[in-house]
């Protein structure tokens, strides 16, 4: 909870602040004393370098593209004139965060256009859970639904092919239940029972 003391000594970690030699929480979150980190339960995305994001091109001039990442700042993708690839307004791109200026302007690089597919908005704080430890969760969903799924850290998920409805359902479930344990098994159960020709069809 905001204002709660986490540590009696100054600690440097996310979602916290230090005052008078004590560390306080600044969000509602779960504290992991082993790792020494405070995981926020709600909140907006703050950019960080090397994160993969998904966005939509909203503006372009001279190979400089503005990308909508649905957060409070703005994002820029700088192309070079030797690039063969150009982007049109409305193109969906996947890119990595190269640099952040003044905590609000994000410079992107390593872009890749995503053709077709659908976009899904999720809470940015739940993205680590959707991906899972070492990608287990998202691989599981992708392998059972046979969809191509890319999860952007800014809270946009791109899906293409396969059983998109089922994959969406699974992702929504993860989002709702992200703070509980044993989630991977529950998602597996959901996917198994609901998939076409699944083992437990009568329940679905």
């Amino acid at each position: 909870m905001p204002g709660d003391v986490i540590f009696d000594k100054p600690m440097r970690m996310d979602n916290s602040y230090v005052e008078n030699g004590k560390t306080y929480a600044e969000v509602m979150g779960l504290f992991d004393s082993e790792k020494g980190s405070l995981v926020a339960l709600e909140g907006a995305w703050s950019p960080r370098t090397d994160e993969v994001v998904i966005g939509i091109i909203t503006n372009s001039r001279n190979q400089v593209y503005e990308v909508d990442l649905s957060f409070y700042g703005r994002a820029i993708l700088i192309g070079s004139k030797y690039d063969r690839q150009t982007y049109k307004l409305g193109d969906v791109v996947q890119a990595e965060v190269k640099d952040i200026e003044n905590r609000k302007t994000v410079i992107l690089w390593r872009p890749r256009t995503l053709y077709g597919g659908t976009l899904l908005d999720v809470k940015a704080t739940k993205v680590p859970r959707i991906i899972g430890k070492a990608n287990t969760m998202i691989m599981q969903i992708a392998s059972i639904t046979k969809s191509n799924i890319i999860v952007g850290n800014n809270g946009i998920v791109w899906l293409k092919g396969g059983d998109i409805a089922l994959a969406t359902m699974a992702i929504r479930k993860i989002e709702d239940e992200a703070h509980t344990s044993g989630l991977t098994e529950r998602i597996k159960k959901l996917l198994d029972t609901r998939q076409v020709g699944g083992t437990n069809k009568e329940i679905a």
Binding site: P2, G3, E19, V27, M28, A44, R74, T180
Partner: protein, 252 residues
Amino acid sequence: MASKANKPQLIVDGKRLDGRALNELRPIKIQASVLKNADGSAYLEWGDNRVLAAVYGPKEAMPKHVQDPVKAIIKCKYQMAPFSSMGEHGRSGPNRRATEISKVTREAFESVVMLNDFPGSEIDIFIEILQSDGGTRAAGITAAAVALANAGIHMKDLIYAVSFGKTDGELILDLNMIEDNYSECDMPMAIAPRNGELLLLQMDGNLTKEEMKRGMAMAIEAGKKITAIQKAALQETYKKTEADIKGSENGV
């Protein structure tokens, strides 16, 4: 109209009109995350007050000229529903009183929200009074604090607000409408419980220095209860999902 001529006796045998002790709060009930479209929201019942608070953001500040390149800005709108009240407060729309309360609420939150974490952005706070019975600005701030925490906005503290006043020569906590109208003094205050920092202090009437000290101590004591209710409301939203999961698993 409230005047000295028709003033009822507000304190009888050390009890108030609604049976409360002098330093007793009205019953408070808070529910967090009640609106789906808002990033954070809270519904609060404080005695006969009914308050709905919603928070949006942080999002890009619009129009662009209001953006601050180094910090976030807060916009706050306090509004009373046209059906919220009796008598003259029943008027709706932006009036002097609503504008003033919006301003003091905004200033209270500006000192606890980590504005530097989201430069160039804007955080919208909407406070809607559905039914009023005195002390709505305190109720509004208390509800908005829960809504902000529910939205995951970085804050130094989960603040609360409460009022105290003086009537029949006695100090009383948490005035309701009648007590407010006939009181000798009414003093709403917003406090950060972590260090007792005062974020809002308004006074209507007269108090002695000694009375003010006593009243503040009373408010801080009552604040512990309010803070506990606020935190419980926030935790409740997560417990609910856990119960749902268990229920659905048993069903399958």
